[in-house]
């Protein structure tokens, strides 16, 4: 059976089980797709899988809108890992979520240059191995001065759409530092280098799971994930921490007591 048909079946089973009020997935719209909350009894014929949207971010909003609701979601590897990091920071309650686990295809993996294109368990799809981002390797060959020059040139194109921040499932601060005049002078284009972009980059440490949503949303085509991938690798080397690997791992920047009482 086709992959999408298998997902529809799995979603239908989950909806019929009565465990959730709805399942968050994608719906076909014209040539594209859009996030949609499917309910029991809904036709699932237009449920689709690609292009993906940041579903964990939407799930967070829906769970917050109604503290009693339980929801399902079709989750790729990055989306499951994203939810895990969000759960650690009390953004989502895993007990209120049921996932349909989906492994990405080789084409989908290549589009995201994804190093980890499968979830912790697989309901639908076949596991394909991850790939390395060629841009990251290229970047590593640059000297420090060349790197500064490279990012200066990239960030000069930034039009401060805040899209990278707004799509990011891991950006959930009530007040965003990027909107604090103390750190980033408001109204200026391109935003001041390097504060705007480095603040965001540091905020991804220990959280960014490489879902690619920011880079795909960037109207300036800035290879943001190169920066975040390097930071992720550093965090792993220094602290042995891999975002999204498990609910139990303690984030490197968390204070232990806070973290424990939070659960």
């Amino acid at each position: 059976m086709e992959r999408v048909a298998l997902v529809r079946e799995a979603v239908k089973r989950l909806l019929d089980s009565g465990q959730v009020e709805g399942v968050l997935a994608l719906r076909t719209v014209g040539p594209g797709s859009a996030p949609h909350l499917f309910h029991p009894g809904d036709s699932l014929d237009d449920l689709t899988l690609w292009p993906k949207y940041p579903l964990p971010k939407i799930l967070d909003m829906l769970l917050a809108a109604d503290p009693s609701v339980r929801l399902g979601m079709v989750a790729r590897g990055c989306e499951e890992r994203g939810l895990i990091e969000m759960a650690k920071r009390n953004q989502v309650d895993m007990n209120r979520i049921r996932l349909v686990y989906l492994a990405c295809t080789a084409e989908e993996r290549d589009e995201c240059c994804c190093s980890w294109p499968y979830p912790s368990q697989i309901d639908v799809g076949d596991k394909v191995e991850g790939t390395a981002d060629a841009l990251v390797a290229e970047h590593e060959r640059l000297s420090l001065a060349e790197r500064t020059e490279f990012w200066k040139r990239q960030f000069a194109r930034c039009i401060k759409c805040y899209g990278c921040r707004t799509v990011c499932p891991q950006c959930f601060c009530e007040t965003c530092v990027l909107e604090d005049n103390l750190w980033v002078e408001a109204g200026v284009l391109a935003p001041p280098f390097p504060s705007y972009h480095l603040i965001r980059a540091y905020h991804t440490i220990g959280k960014c799971v490489g879902c690619m949503e920011c880079e795909n949303a960037c109207p300036a085509d800035i290879p943001l994930t190169v920066l975040y991938t390097l930071l992720r690798r550093d965090a792993e080397e220094m602290f042995g921490y891999v975002p999204g690997r498990s609910l139990e791992d303690l984030p490197p920047l968390a204070v232990e007591t806070l973290w424990q009482t939070g659960h």
Partner: protein, 536 residues
């Protein structure tokens, strides 16, 4: 636009002028800069060193209002160095000899004296543009909002035809329209001189066509433009104004004059979603709805017709604007003798039915239906139901057959700085607000970013006036005075100041000069003379 935005991915050279592209048309800038990374050259000619100017391969800073001079200068160099497309000029155009004669005197040195653009840079720009495989001109209001606006546009067209950079993908003369549906409003005949589809009101055949369709069509005489309407209201010739979702009390030049005109109107109707500055003068206010509460279509700057879809029901008692007009029309029709015509009725069930009628009367929209738009957008002309639409115009011939060169001479702006008003004021848009601000200034995030107006002033001038960072400053022109905040920046050269027009409380248009281009009737928003005073 003659061409389409996605085609820019194939363009080799962009000549961008009078366009703050990354701020006013951000997603066009995306395509331009993508092409640049692929090797395309970007030339920006603008008095302000905007973000796109800083990102350009070549940036030329002209004195505001001198566009005909540098455009003629480019053509002078191109003809001198034999870089024009002789075959295109021969087979597709007429009037070349006149053009050649007219640009002969615009030597780079003379152009430098008029515009301030270094002669060598002008020559470099001419070579890059002329020798590119596919070159596109992009411009916006920086070209049109002058008393010489039409001359400026004609000069851009001359340049494109001279080099054969038109009628192929990725080339063309591409005015980027500022507002989301300004193209569509023009297409639909919201203009005083044409019916839908640019069918002239002065043509008897066209009049007969609409007489037959609607049961009545007015005499063969063009009506008033927006600026003329306010004038006529001021002088008493216009007694009633009906304003749908426009805000002349912020957007029009010389606001003190607009205010007096609105006050003198016998009857003013404002249809809008917010209590705008203009609604303060209204006798009747009719609540329309936002784009989230109605169905319809918009036509973008590249003639692309796209759907607007209803997401939520109208708020409160508000009504979709099309229903308001229908309700009004039905009442007025009832007060008149019956009119016979295929489309004389006003009983529409949906915007899809309105589009069906508009399409039947608008040749370039002839093949547009909501069913087709479900499958994606369409670019007009789409004359028939099986026509695929037209991504770029003038492929094998111009609308009038041969393209005509129009020789144009440089003329000075209507008002230039003098002793009393020593600064040149230019106005425009910025990233975080839109037009008169009635929507963006009610958007928390956008308003946080830039909560008040400002005047951009060079560090040199700020120093002379004793202005520190964010100092309060009074800006005075022959028509009015505003108080605002100084933004000291190298974006503007010494002698020039810039004010965005989105802020009603420090409205740039209290200062602007209502002098019009004689043909397009567009006001000279880009050049006025002002004086600055520090507020103690």
């Amino acid at each position: 636009m003659t061409n389409s935005i996605p085609e820019f991915d194939e363009t080799d050279c962009f000549l961008i002028t009078g366009s703050n592209t990354t701020e006013a048309h951000p997603l066009v800038a995306t395509h331009v800069l993508r092409a640049q990374r692929r090797g395309a050259k970007v030339i920006v000619v603008d008095p302000r060193r905007t973000q796109i100017a800083r990102l350009a391969d070549l940036y030329l800073r002209q004195r505001p209002g001198t566009d005909v001079a540098w455009l003629n200068g480019l053509m002078h160099v191109i003809i001198q160095e034999g870089m024009y497309d002789a075959e295109f000029v021969e087979s597709r155009t007429e009037g070349f000899e006149e053009l050649k004669a007219a640009v002969a005197e615009y030597t780079p040195e003379r152009v430098e004296a008029i515009t301030g653009i270094p002669a060598a840079d002008l020559v470099t720009a001419a070579r890059i543009y002329a020798q590119a495989g596919r070159a596109a001109i992009l411009y916006t209001m920086g070209i049109t909002q002058h008393t010489t606006g039409v001359d400026n546009v004609l000069s851009c067209a001359n340049l494109a035809m001279l080099t054969g950079h038109i009628g192929r993908p990725g080339t063309g003369v591409n005015p980027l329209r500022g507002q989301n549906n300004v193209q569509g409003a023009c297409d639909m005949g919201a203009l005083p001189n044409v019916y839908p589809g640019y069918q002239p009101v002065t043509s008897e055949a066209v009049q007969a066509k609409f007489q037959e369709a609607w049961g009545y069509a007015p005499p063969l005489r063009a009506g008033l433009t927006v600026t003329e309407m306010t004038d006529a209201a001021y002088h008493g010739a216009v007694k009633a104004l009906y304003i749908m979702a426009e805000n002349p009390m912020v957007s029009d030049p010389d606001l003190n004059h607009v205010r007096a005109a609105l006050e003198r109107c016998d009857f003013l109707v404002v249809q809008d979603i917010f209590p705008t500055e203009t609604a303060e003068f209204a006798d009747v206010v009719l609540p329309g709805v936002s784009f989230a509460e109605k169905e319809g279509t918009f036509t973008n700057t590249e003639r692309r017709i796209q759907r607007v879809r209803q997401a939520i029901p109208p708020l409160g008692d508000a009504r979709p604007d099309w229903q308001i007009i229908c309700g009004l029309a039905q009442r007025m029709v009832g007060m008149q003798p019956t009119r016979e015509g295929r489309f004389a009725g006003w009983e529409y069930c949906s915007p899809a039915e309105i589009m069906a009628e508009a399409a039947a009367l608008t040749p370039s929209y002839g093949g547009v239906t909501y069913e087709r738009l479900e499958q994606g957008s369409l670019q007009w002309p789409v004359p028939t139901p099986d026509h695929p639409g037209t991504p770029y115009l003038h492929k094998d011939r111009f609308t009038r057959g041969l393209g005509r060169f129009t020789a144009v001479a440089y003329k000075e702006p209507a008002e230039l700085p003098d002793e009393e008003y020593p600064f040149l004021l230019t106005t425009g848009r910025m990233m975080f607000h839109y037009h008169t601000g009635s929507m963006t200034r009610r958007s928390e995030k956008l308003e946080r970013e830039v909560p008040e107006g400002y005047v951009e002033i060079s560090p040199e001038d700020a120093g002379r006036l004793g202005l520190g960072k964010s100092a309060r400053v009074r800006v005075i022109s022959r028509r009015g005075t505003i108080e605002t905040r100084a933004w000291i920046t190298r974006r503007v050269p010494p002698g020039t100041v810039f004010i965005p027009f989105h802020f009603a409380e420090a409205a740039a248009n209290l200062l602007t000069n209502p002098a019009l281009d004689p043909i397009a009737k567009i006001p000279e928003y880009k050049v006025a003379a002002v004086r600055l005073e520090r507020v103690a």
